[in-house]
Symmetry: C2
Subunit: 360 residues, 2 copies
Amino acid sequence: MINDFKFTVLKKSKKHNGRAGVLHTPHGDIRTPIFMPVGTLGSVKTLMPEMLLSEGVEIILANTYHLFLRPGMELMKQSGGLHQFMNWHKPLLTDSGGFQIFSLGNLNKIDEDGVTFQSHLDGASFRLTPEKVIEIQQIIGADIIMPLDECLPIGVSKEKTRESLQLTSRWAKRCRNYLRDNPSRHRQVLFGIIQGGMFPELRKESAEQLLELDFFGYAIGGLSVGEERNQLYDLIPQTVQYIPEEKPRYLMGVGAPEDLDVAIDSGIDMFDCVLPTRLARHGSVLSKEGSYSIKTKINEYDISPLDNSCDCYACRNYSKEYIRNLYRNKEMQAMSLLSIHNIRFLINLVKRKRQDILDE
Amino acid sequence: MINDFKFTVLKKSKKHNGRAGVLHTPHGDIRTPIFMPVGTLGSVKTLMPEMLLSEGVEIILANTYHLFLRPGMELMKQSGGLHQFMNWHKPLLTDSGGFQIFSLGNLNKIDEDGVTFQSHLDGASFRLTPEKVIEIQQIIGADIIMPLDECLPIGVSKEKTRESLQLTSRWAKRCRNYLRDNPSRHRQVLFGIIQGGMFPELRKESAEQLLELDFFGYAIGGLSVGEERNQLYDLIPQTVQYIPEEKPRYLMGVGAPEDLDVAIDSGIDMFDCVLPTRLARHGSVLSKEGSYSIKTKINEYDISPLDNSCDCYACRNYSKEYIRNLYRNKEMQAMSLLSIHNIRFLINLVKRKRQDILDE
């Protein structure tokens, strides 16, 4: 079934390491580089699928951890999978839940076999293994799925980081084998997640171990929080160099405009981040001059759109003062309109980068 | 300019006093009987205009009181009116603010000339007169506007109610004269509001006084809250009989399905109510078997739509369990989907009643 999936690099930049490509999936093509909005609980907060499609969204990321806890897999099974459940018939990607278990949940135990943690919702205890994580993602049915990985906090020693990435590699192999031996009712491909913290040689070690397993694509984990920008910018090319050119490369959890810009030039093809929707809920607007707050007095009596150069639904139809007024009145459409704009802003950014490469 | 507006009764029922008609306005035709969703603050809560259009909404009611306080008229002027401001290019109706001044605001003084009240937002004091209320509505620019009226609480004596309706009639005349002598930049028509509390002969007295002023249409005020159903059902035909057949008749603030049903049979053409959106925010679903709560356990694992006989966007694309899950997770789309369904439910009800009359 895997032959429904195909990644093609259409053109490589001569100026930098960026490339323009297409990732074919059973639910449609993804033109890379691409930004993926996050639909944590089976919806991109405040937005209907039709709005996302209108803004050029081609793939959504959903969180396995959240869907596993609520609504749970019984309901997901009955619904025939997440595409059907959430009325999104384009490509989906699910993370493994690892990041949330280590950040949101209350981790009780980690051993060779898997992790035991307590739900952040009600404290209920769960055990997840690499095999179980694949089984869950087979029920959810996303096009692209992820293996269980250990996500370390920042500041961990080199020795501990090496032990951790080696565990992640062993888990990755178990995930690969489980998927191979237990075919999905949905057509799905598995990525490997390269870990290794802030240590370039550990990134290399992690990449080499995962490359032996020949995943469909490769994600770079553990670079989304807490790093200094310069260190991040160094580590991306240092890690990318080990991923073969014919494989899609996914930088997990990164979505700030300046980071996308640098990472695309380093050869990254896919990004996800809650940034555009989270900023929206706090009244922040992405723009070429940086982000600004819709709440400030300066936007009163301003009948111009959020961003003069933007072509999103919000900018085509509403003024700053209208959105500011909705926001002050705590009307939810304020968050919808700001989310639409912020997502379109990032989509436009990656599309422009892609076109620049194609036009070289 | 008033010749852009025209109300035509297409057919009268032989079985009851209901009729099917068309109200032509500069922003489009309204097929009556019609239900008008309420967009208090310049938006129908949680819904984009496109969603309303998709569900067959033909006219929205906006609240003058709220728009006057926030965003205020300076901003409304700069925006070129409410149609532009809120991106709704179909017909709009604004109430006079009277109902909110008497219910939400802190009324300080009522005299022959007008009312003084304090804002429910920040306690700021405002003075409104009949003339001022028209001036405000000229800035807002709705197609159909309302005169300032006094709204009494329930249980007021007959004598007090008579004094009040007479004041309302004098204010109505001042509103009519102000509009006549100060043409709008927008094309607008004014309705009269019949008051008179629970007293049929006072309803007659109010209607007669207002009929002398020859308004474009007639609203029935003061019947939306606190009455016993039977009393309401008696008072509607008792009041309607005084309104000439060629005038559109609007029952203010009424929107329960059973009330629409009875009132349409009594000859009412227009309704508004916050009911469908308010119910939605509390997780309640309108259906033929009455309303039910999406929150109940019984909707878990239920992959059927909210209402099997409904053709709204929510029922066509989502299951009860999906919407229940969004609601439990406090995701705003739950309210959007429930609002869409509840509004469509009432729209379908009035459309079916209309078609029944046309098909007789």
